[in-house]
């Protein structure tokens, strides 16, 4: 079984982003970039499926500028077999990403696509569901457990209030949640080995897809800062403040 793992290069989760003064977006100059953490979980899950003998090839794909090669190399160092970069400087909406991924799926014919439930930059949480819709495949979103057997995926999903287990016929799309696994670190020998693994670059025009934007970001602003509060010195003082000043208890 072939696995396809789409990954996104995003601002590292430890960075506190700043809004540009002209409202055109957030400042990404000289900011540390990393693989989207949920996609890292997706790569790890694919590798574990391969280690269990349930998959024989893992293809990672990223859509974005040339710098995404670095993110793809990280995935190769973790254990993916080969990488595809769809190189573009255009800003892609989740729908456009899903359409481009559909073309990659048509080319590679994976049985399973595993990707992060959301990217921590735009927080959209859409691409996996959209790809499943465009392929007419079933979807298992927000997975915290995944089992594959006899042409079926059994997915335990994180839902509000608890867990849900679904059985999906393959091929299918899975999106990962936090507790699915803990991604491995890359070792120096594996980083060196990863440099020899194939990384193909495609142009958007190779994929013949309508990626015209359907929404427009007019402005990006900073949220209202909260006004500074006070320190209390004891539990008694806290309770008094909550009762008499804030009047919330």
């Amino acid at each position: 079984m072939k696995l396809l793992v789409p990954i996104k290069r995003v601002v590292d989760f430890t960075v506190k982003v700043r809004v540009k003064p002209d409202g055109s977006g957030v400042d990404l100059e000289n900011v540390k970039m990393s693989m989207n953490p949920f996609d890292e979980i997706a790569v790890e899950e694919a590798i574990r499926l391969k280690e269990r003998g349930l998959a024989n090839e893992i293809i990672v794909v990223s859509l974005g500028p040339a710098a995404c090669q670095e993110t793809l190399r990280t995935a190769l160092a973790m254990g993916a077999d080969r990488a595809v970069l769809v190189e573009t400087d255009a800003e892609l909406e989740p729908l456009a990403v899903a359409k481009l991924l559909k073309q990659i799926v048509a080319k590679e014919e994976p049985q399973l696509v595993i990707l992060g439930k959301q990217a921590i930059d735009d927080d959209s949480n859409q691409t996996g569901q959209m790809l499943a819709a465009l392929l007419d495949w079933p979807q298992g979103t927000f997975a915290s457990k995944l089992e594959i057997a006899e042409g079926k995926a059994t997915v335990t999903r994180e839902i509000d209030g608890g867990l849900e287990t679904l059985e999906l016929p393959l091929p299918a799309v899975i999106t990962t949640d936090l507790r699915l696994n803990e991604p491995r670190y890359t070792s120096l020998p594996n980083i060196i080995k990863a440099k020899k693994r194939p990384l193909d670059t495609l142009k958007i025009s190779d994929l013949q897809t309508d990626i015209a934007p359907r929404s427009k970001t007019q402005k990006v602003g900073a949220p209202q800062p909260r006004k500074a509060g006070i320190r209390v010195n004891s539990v008694e003082e806290l309770v008094t403040k909550l009762r008499e000043e804030a009047k919330v208890i």
Binding site: V26, S215, I230
Partner: protein, 318 residues
């Protein structure tokens, strides 16, 4: 053209987040010429849900699609049923709560309609322009939908006060056609927390614990405080990662977003991902032994000290 809100429910009760989505639809309606709001209830033996939805202020009609195949409410069958409804009547907007329910199904519907969904809106500026948090709430984007036959939105409940329930009811219609094809997906089962647990996103008071609670057993101290305050219990991602509590307790960028009257953060340092989930709370209390913890920068009342000593004292004094 009317606006369509997809109701979230468990076939027995309507989830309150639906009322916040109706409130967002009303705000769009006020700015547009068309303000008729329909609520679509999809499930099995869900008549009580439809009756509750019919009582939400601002709702003109409820459409009930009720059939055994619809009971599991998988993304595949919900999508099929919503698409049938969009063929039966014309709508300008489709809305659903930005909960795991809405997040799961709405993008699937949007893609089938060749529409770019706008996720997690917190404000409506015009019928096609919305505000949504990005980068864990560190920035707010104003986004305009510029193409597509319909506008598809998920709604963050914290952005809109719930549309109240009224005495009178809107009419309930049965869906004319019912979706049958579940795409081979089978619901194996659900493990849900007991229904008497107060839901995080609907609670007036939330008490959350972090890694500072040190171990799972110490969450009992938090539970005791929550019981006194009739509060829901939440947690930071660090506490979930450490295995102290299940993932559905998680408040933050990738968990639940809450805005209660009172939020008490205990032993939580205040990573930006956590702040994203609670910074709109009315009053924030932080209890942490590290006086430099970032949580104190957003707290109205900060108390420096050992959470394990302070919690029983606080519970006793309430």
């Amino acid at each position: 053209m009317a606006l369509l809100v997809l109701a979230e429910h468990d076939n027995a009760t309507l989830k309150p987040a639906t009322q916040n989505s109706v409130a967002a639809a009303r705000k769009i309606g006020e700015k547009a010429d068309t303000s008729e709001i329909h609520v679509l209830v999809i499930g099995h033996q869900a008549v009580p849900v439809a009756e509750a939805a019919a009582r939400i202020e601002g709702v003109a009609k409820v459409i009930l699609a009720d059939e055994v195949e619809l009971g599991p409410q998988t993304a595949e069958i919900l999508t099929a049923q919503v698409l049938l409804q969009l063929q039966a009547e014309h709508y300008s907007h489709l809305l659903a709560p930005a909960t795991t329910y809405g997040k799961n199904v709405l993008p699937r519907i949007a893609a089938k309609l060749d529409v770019q969904q706008i996720s997690g809106i917190i404000d409506v500026l015009s019928p096609s322009t919305f505000v949504r948090p990005i980068y864990a709430g560190n920035a707010l984007a104003t986004v305009e939908s510029i193409a597509g036959a319909i506008i598809v939105l998920t709604v963050l409940s914290t952005g809109f006060d719930a549309s109240p329930l009224r005495e009178t009811s809107a009419p309930i219609e049965s869906a004319k056609e019912l979706a049958k094809d579940s795409a081979g997906v089978r619901l194996v089962g659900r493990q849900l927390a007991s229904s008497d647990k107060i839901e995080l996103t609907a609670a007036r008071v939330v008490v959350s614990g972090g890694r500072g609670l040190q171990k799972a057993e110490n969450f009992q101290l938090l539970e005791a405080l929550a019981a006194k305050l009739n509060a829901a219990v939440g947690a930071s991602r660090a506490a979930v990662d450490a295995g102290f509590v299940p993932n559905d307790y998680q408040v933050g960028q990738t968990g639940k977003i809450v805005a209660p009257e009172l939020y008490i953060a205990v032993g939580i340092s205040g990573a930006i991902q956590h702040l994203a989930g609670m910074r709109d709370s009315k009053v924030i209390v932080a209890i942490n032994k590290d006086p430099d913890a970032p949580i104190f920068q957003v707290a109205d009342y900060g108390l420096v000290g050992d959470a394990l000593e302070i919690l029983p004292q606080l519970t006793a004094q309430l």
